[in-house]
Subunit: 258 residues, 2 copies
Amino acid sequence: MVTRIHPEPALPADLTAITSDAYRQVKDRLREVITRLGEAGRLRLPSEAELSAALGVSRATLRSALQSLQKEGRIRRLHGHGTFINRHALGLGANLAEAGAFLDLLAEAGHEASVSTADQRVVALEADVATSLEIRAGEQALRIERVFAASGEPAVHSVDHFPAPLLGENPRVLEPAQSTFEFVERHLGPPVCYSVAEVRPVLPPPEVAAALKIPAAQPLLRLRHTHIRADEQPVAVTVAHVNDEYLRFSVIRTYLDE
Amino acid sequence: MVTRIHPEPALPADLTAITSDAYRQVKDRLREVITRLGEAGRLRLPSEAELSAALGVSRATLRSALQSLQKEGRIRRLHGHGTFINRHALGLGANLAEAGAFLDLLAEAGHEASVSTADQRVVALEADVATSLEIRAGEQALRIERVFAASGEPAVHSVDHFPAPLLGENPRVLEPAQSTFEFVERHLGPPVCYSVAEVRPVLPPPEVAAALKIPAAQPLLRLRHTHIRADEQPVAVTVAHVNDEYLRFSVIRTYLDE
């Protein structure tokens, strides 16, 4: 067992390299390669050397992108055999384990996606959200309510809470942005690093049923996210209700890992 | 872009090394280390050299276990800074992206878990399941229906379909095992490698409401898995209805990767 424990290090503040557009582009291009190979029935990826040469990126960048795709369940590595495409994950739509703003997810699902900010105000935090944000109940938070539409039809209802003390003097007038992630990047410094999401089947609360124009008896997927910055500071809680006629989630559960 | 494409290689049949108990034990012990460090507020992991020495395993085995935990969202690597525990993922219960038989998930959620086989018979496949199994509709399949209980209360209802031609002469009398995974390992050769699961909120079909002893208006989480072997052969479709009073799923969505 481990007996030595390191003293708590400072977490790095600057994550520019990791969030760079270049890295995202590499990952997107690698996705394309995987789709194309997979559709052709070629399930083993070329070597790292070949891929990095073909994509014109360093081995380190390529390896990061590969690890990320492995984490999402798109590919798997088999020791001594190479890296393989998970063929049955090829056509998968919205992946619960992947990053994704609702606007992008709806667009990827083939809809004309739009978002409107239904409400933006400062409120006193209720206990459960305050606990997730690690601040005291009753403290002020900025609450942003959004409705995401698929070709004009309301598809997703979301409510964000951001701790007001992190947002300067007048949070109510801040530009609401198109997603929680964009809001955090614009107004809260370092971007969201990971989110913990509770996944529940629920009947819609009355205000959600009204906003989504659905009957009270229609079950929805309720995703309650706590968004965490790279410095482990929770910066937002988002409760989203998803009408799965418009957006259906999947997840790839992996059992064998290298 | 990639222009060269490898010829289709044979997929390895023997995955003993990856599925070995030793590997699972390393991962379990690493989980313990992470929990203990995290609870003590120490979020940076010791170096690979220190960890492999402390756990008495090779660097290669350690690295595999670390990658697997990274994939599940438990830890993250920050280039040039080390490997960090995702603190807010520490207390997380059933992780939708992780492996897990319902019996284990219910036990981990603190219940006294049990399973009963409600029915086992050979049926003709309906079109949607046949498509997932990549065989023709109307072909025969073994159907196993199970109810998983939490301290005696029915909590999860599941129906497996396995292609009968893969199961020998008389599939109806095969030992049903305690989970889909155990059944596959025992009767279908190589174990399940990954599963693609569709996640939906639904109202229970009448037979499920009866089996779970719940009202028809109570929404359930419906997980429809297609289980894939390492050789990319789909070997089972499992439709599970989960009463989330007993088992609540979360997922860790990661945005920044090394």
